[in-house]
């Protein structure tokens, strides 16, 4: 199983609701469920109340300088 075909997921989280989601890192997995397991296991340094993952390929740049 080659890693070259795997998806990079950007991980965002927040500690409380008035706070915006912050970018906390990435995980590399071809399976969405495994990506969720990995994100929760890797970025557990804070008591997050929300964590989301987004496939990097779905992100569109609005500005690039």
């Amino acid at each position: 199983m080659s890693r070259a075909d795997e998806t990079v997921w950007e991980v965002f989280a927040r500690k409380e609701y008035p706070e915006p989601l912050h970018h906390v890192g990435t995980v590399t997995e071809d399976d969405e469920d495994l990506a969720l397991v990995s994100a929760r296991a890797i970025y557990d340094e804070q008591p997050w109340i929300e964590m989301i993952i987004v496939p990097r390929a779905s992100i569109r740049e609005a500005i690039r300088s």
Binding site: T28, D31, D33, L34, A35, L36, S38, R40, A41
Partner: protein, 230 residues
């Protein structure tokens, strides 16, 4: 470990709870060994997290035995238990890790789910906490089964073989369905279902997940050790 004289239902629960803790301790060690050699760094972190969960579950389950009148050493040590033979040694390959995650973890967690509303209150409390954490183990097992299924070929053939090996022993862990002590434990509300029902739940989950498995009901109980459940 020594016990006061108890009724058959309580004796069965003592065996199940002690063996559950022994097997969770062994499973935690097996998961932990793969934290340094999993196929990806993400899998290594997941293995380490699952190892920590299992060892924590073992540590918090042993004291339930005290409530049932069992006297045991304060700190029995990691090698003191009698886990299933299939997880008593280092797992030889990643397919074995996933098979243990699917089958051994699956059987143990299904038993724990049957004790969620147990009349043994300390067990019910532990069960609810364990089930919260086991959700991620289940997702991990299912996702890896699907991934290996997509790859197919030798990887899938090896996973099937490892699942067969794990099932041959783990399916016996709940014991024969004719166990009268277990039936009394169900009647007393200590657990909500018997051995065959636990096996059926795990089988119903696994069969659609990995093609080509049979996962038969165990039939030969001639060498069954009720205390060590193997």
């Amino acid at each position: 470990m020594s016990t006061v004289r108890v009724d058959p239902a309580t004796a069965t629960m003592i065996s199940l709870i002690g063996s559950l803790a022994d097997n969770k301790s062994a499973l935690g060690r097996r998961y932990g060994e793969w934290a340094v050699s999993a196929p990806t760094i993400e899998s290594a972190v997941a293995a380490a997290a699952m190892a920590q969960d299992e060892l924590g579950h073992a540590r918090s389950t042993y004291p339930v035995l005290d409530k049932l009148g069992v006297s045991r050493p304060e700190d029995p040590g990691l090698d003191a238990g009698h886990p299933m033979f299939v997880i008593s040694q280092e797992l030889p390959d990643w397919a074995s890790f996933i098979a243990a995650n699917l089958v051994v973890d699956g059987i143990l967690t299904t038993f724990v789910a049957s004790a969620r509303d147990s009349s043994i209150e300390p067990l019910a409390q532990r069960a609810r906490k364990i089930l919260q954490e086991e959700g991620a183990h289940r997702v991990h097992a299912e996702a890896w089964a699907r991934r290996i299924g997509r790859v197919g070929g030798e990887d899938l053939a090896l996973l099937r073989r490892r699942i067969d090996e794990m099932w041959a022993e783990a399916a016996r862990w709940p014991g024969p369905d004719s166990d009268s002590g277990y039936a009394e434990a169900v009647a007393a509300g200590m657990v909500d279902s018997g051995p065959a029902a636990i096996r059926a739940r795990v089988r119903d989950w696994l069969l659609p997940l990995v093609d080509g498995m049979s996962l038969d009901e165990p039939t030969d109980w001639s060498d069954w050790n009720e205390q060590y459940r193997r």
